[in-house]
């Protein structure tokens, strides 16, 4: 069992199984939609987890990258002669460049200072998106044109379920490979102790930047997928609360656990749907559940449960 957990393909394979099982098990479009939203958020959470869980750097502005990806898909085809899918690629590239430019100065900061700097970045993106109403439609949002792939219009909840699920599996696989590469080892060394990492010859600044750019790419991809899936986008996707949601997904599911990011995303997306019957108390219940999880499963749900299972043997 333990060996199975440690196999490099365990996490992507498990996620693939979950995606396939839900794809055939969930009957109605509503459940498929919620699941697709979970896959999209999980993708962003995996990206943020690479930064937080592995490199040990916090970001409170990742919704900014999510917004960049989403609005690239929405705005791109209006201003450039590109298809929505090409716009998605451009948006991801843009997010990577911005992450590089922003990351270079702000990753020199540590702890709370880094948190505040990333927070500022997220708010800046949000303000641009909601104020440049000529391009982005302002606070009321804007429609996104439908993507076509080889002449096939990508629409319908089930189509997007499989697209987002597929991208999530690939994303998880890439993330696992990255973590197991020399870069991943350098990142984990960074997480444990920056000083020690520096002493053994890890280029600290460079690896932090790599982690920041990679996580921005994941998050922008997730944002672009949401825009294409919904066909309509508002600046809220880049808002502060959305950044916080991503952080909660990572911490709740378990820092440094790829499957944990999926679990965290699933709880944050699906729980409000399950609690909607208690409309007035929804936020209260949600907060309480999160607190209980964090008190009793301190390392996050997945790592704590794995540790428990290990002790039980």
């Amino acid at each position: 069992m333990g060996r199975l957990f440690n196999h490099p393909l365990a996490a992507p394979a498990l996620i693939a199984l979950i995606v396939i099982a839900c794809g055939f098990g969930l009957g109605s479009n509503f459940y498929l939609r919620v699941a697709a939203l979970v896959w999209i958020s999980a993708l962003a959470a995996i990206g943020l987890n690479l930064l937080m869980g592995f490199a040990g750097q916090v970001s409170l502005g990742h919704a900014g990258f999510f917004g960049i990806g989403a609005y690239a898909v929405a705005v791109g085809p209006n201003v450039l002669p590109v298809s929505p899918l090409l716009a998605l690629v451009l948006g991801i590239a843009l997010a990577a460049v911005i992450a590089y430019l922003v990351g270079r100065p702000i990753l020199k900061l540590k702890g709370h200072y880094l948190a505040v700097a990333t927070l500022g970045f997220g708010i800046l993106v949000y303000m641009v998106l909601s104020n440049e109403s000529g391009l982005t439609g302002g606070p009321d949002g804007m429609p996104v044109s439908r993507a076509t792939l080889f002449g096939w219009r990508l629409k319908g909840v089930d189509t997007w379920y499989w697209i987002t699920g597929g991208v999530l599996v690939v994303g998880a696989w890439v993330a696992v490979n990255l973590v197991r590469s020399p870069t991943g080892r350098a990142l984990r060394a960074l997480h444990d102790s920056e000083v020690a990492a520096r002493v053994v010859g890890v280029d600290v600044a460079r690896y932090k930047l790599v982690a920041f750019v990679v996580s921005a790419v994941y998050t922008a991809l997730a944002g672009g997928l949401l825009a294409l899936f919904n066909g309509f986008i508002t600046p809220d996707v880049a808002g502060f609360m959305h950044s916080i949601e991503f952080v909660v997904m990572v911490v709740l599911g378990g820092m440094g656990s790829i499957v944990g990011s999926l679990v965290g995303a699933a709880i944050l997306i699906a729980l409000p749907q399950a609690l909607s019957a208690f409309q007035e108390y929804e936020h209260l219940a949600l907060g309480l559940i999160l607190m209980v999880f964090m008190i009793f499963l301190r390392k996050g749900i997945v790592p704590s449960l794995v540790a428990l299972a290990g002790r039980g043997r």
């Binding site: 509503f30 939609r33 302002g138 009321d140 809220d236 996707v237 409309q279 929804e282």
Partner: protein
């Protein structure tokens, strides 16, 4: 009788009564209506009164025997103003709850996120969002009840034209509301032969608009000033306006049509003109006004049951629900397509927003007369002009 037998009997009896209860419900199958509103979050000033209004009136309708002899079942989800959540909840209403119509979507953003879904599923949707894009171009399954910014501009310009003003100054907020209304005003101003000779803006959190107003004051031949804006900005503009001693009339928008504006602007508010829905001046309407009965009833009921001041937003929800109920009665069934056709055929419906006459190319059905021109005198609203 042993304890176990007694328990078993109790279980049997309760199961039987439960079953009876269930069949009783299915005999009068409820008509399901859905709603997605921003009950919490930054747009809760819209969603909260709308939510209360819908629940209050659905209860009232059910007490009075329901619609077509069947009770209404209202399902409300809280989007928190988030377009993505609104879309998920709309999917849920359509797929899972199988509602026959939707009234809701408190903001323009959430409404527009829901529009493609209702169009695909062919479910009638009466939006409570403000912007004109919701119904222009006309979408087969989408209707709305609130007035548009454009109508407020038209009402203001009508009044200016009647007073012979041809050159005006404009000072607008750069928030969503002010920016959108400024554009709408500029789009229609040509129809009234009026020209903007000074066009200034201020940020949503600015605390002093004296510089912008000084520029307007010094512009050549300004005969009146209009201020599209929302929140505290217009109150500051009004105060600065009086401090600078600008003599020409000041027009505010329907965005400040609440008592809190008068409180914020104090004595400076006297003499300000603004367009507003009849609901605001319910008790001042002449008895022969066709809206009088409706708005007074709604205001009384809302204020009695919630203990809060009535707002025009809740009124939009009232109009939406009543138009829907009338349509279901007229259609004689809860078939979504029949309801849609009946909504589109709504004529002469008098709601809190005005008289609604819909048609195939007008899914709002209100005209400029739905607004009353008000003037603030001695800290209170007064109806002026030929309303």
């Amino acid at each position: 009788m042993t304890k176990f037998q007694r328990l078993a009997r109790l279980a049997a009896v309760s199961a039987a009564s439960l079953a009876l209860g269930l069949t009783a419900v299915s005999a009068a199958d409820p008509i399901k209506i859905g709603s997605v509103l921003a009950v919490t979050g930054p747009a809760s000033f819209l969603g909260d009164p709308e939510d209360k209004t819908l629940k209050m009136y659905v209860d009232k309708i059910n007490e009075e025997g329901g619609v077509l002899g069947r009770p209404l079942e209202l399902i409300v989800y809280d989007s928190g103003g988030d377009a993505n959540k609104a879309r998920t909840f709309a999917t849920r209403l359509i797929e899972d709850d199988e509602v026959v119509a939707i009234v809701g979507g408190a903001t323009t953003g959430t409404t527009m996120a829901m529009v493609p879904l209702v169009e695909d599923a062919e479910i009638p949707f009466i939006s409570l969002g403000g912007a004109v894009v919701i119904i222009d171009p006309v979408k087969e399954w989408v209707f709305k009840t609130p007035h548009t910014d454009r109508m407020a501009c038209q009402k203001i310009f009508e009044d200016m034209k009647a007073n012979g003003y041809t050159k005006i100054g404009m000072i607008s907020g750069t928030g969503g509301f002010g920016k959108s209304m400024r554009q709408q005003c500029l789009d229609v101003i040509g129809d009234y032969g009026i020209e903007v000779v000074a066009d200034e803006t201020y940020g949503p959190s600015d605390a002093d608009m004296t510089p912008q107003l000084t520029k307007i004051k010094n512009a050549d031949g300004v005969q009146a000033v209009v201020n599209p804006g929302f929140g505290q900005g217009p109150a500051i503009v009004t105060r600065n306006y009086r401090q600078l001693g600008i003599e020409v009339p000041l027009y505010q928008s329907h965005g400040v049509a609440s008592k809190s504006f008068i409180e914020l602007a104090g004595d400076s508010a006297n003499g300000v003109r603004l367009p507003a829905a009849a609901l605001l001046v319910a008790d001042k309407l002449p008895d022969n006004d066709p809206q009088k009965a409706v708005v007074v009833d709604y205001k009384t009921m809302y204020e009695d049951q919630t203990g809060e001041d009535v707002s025009t937003f809740g009124g939009h929800a009232y109009d939406g629900l009543m138009i829907l109920v009338e349509a279901i009665k007229k259609a004689g069934s809860d078939d979504p397509a029949a309801i849609r056709d009946a909504i589109e055929a709504t004529t002469g419906f008098v709601g809190t927003g005005g008289e609604v006459n819909m048609s195939a190319d007008d899914h709002l059905g209100l005209d400029v007369s739905a607004f009353k021109m008000l003037e603030i005198q001695d800290g209170d609203w007064t109806i002026v002009g030929g309303n």
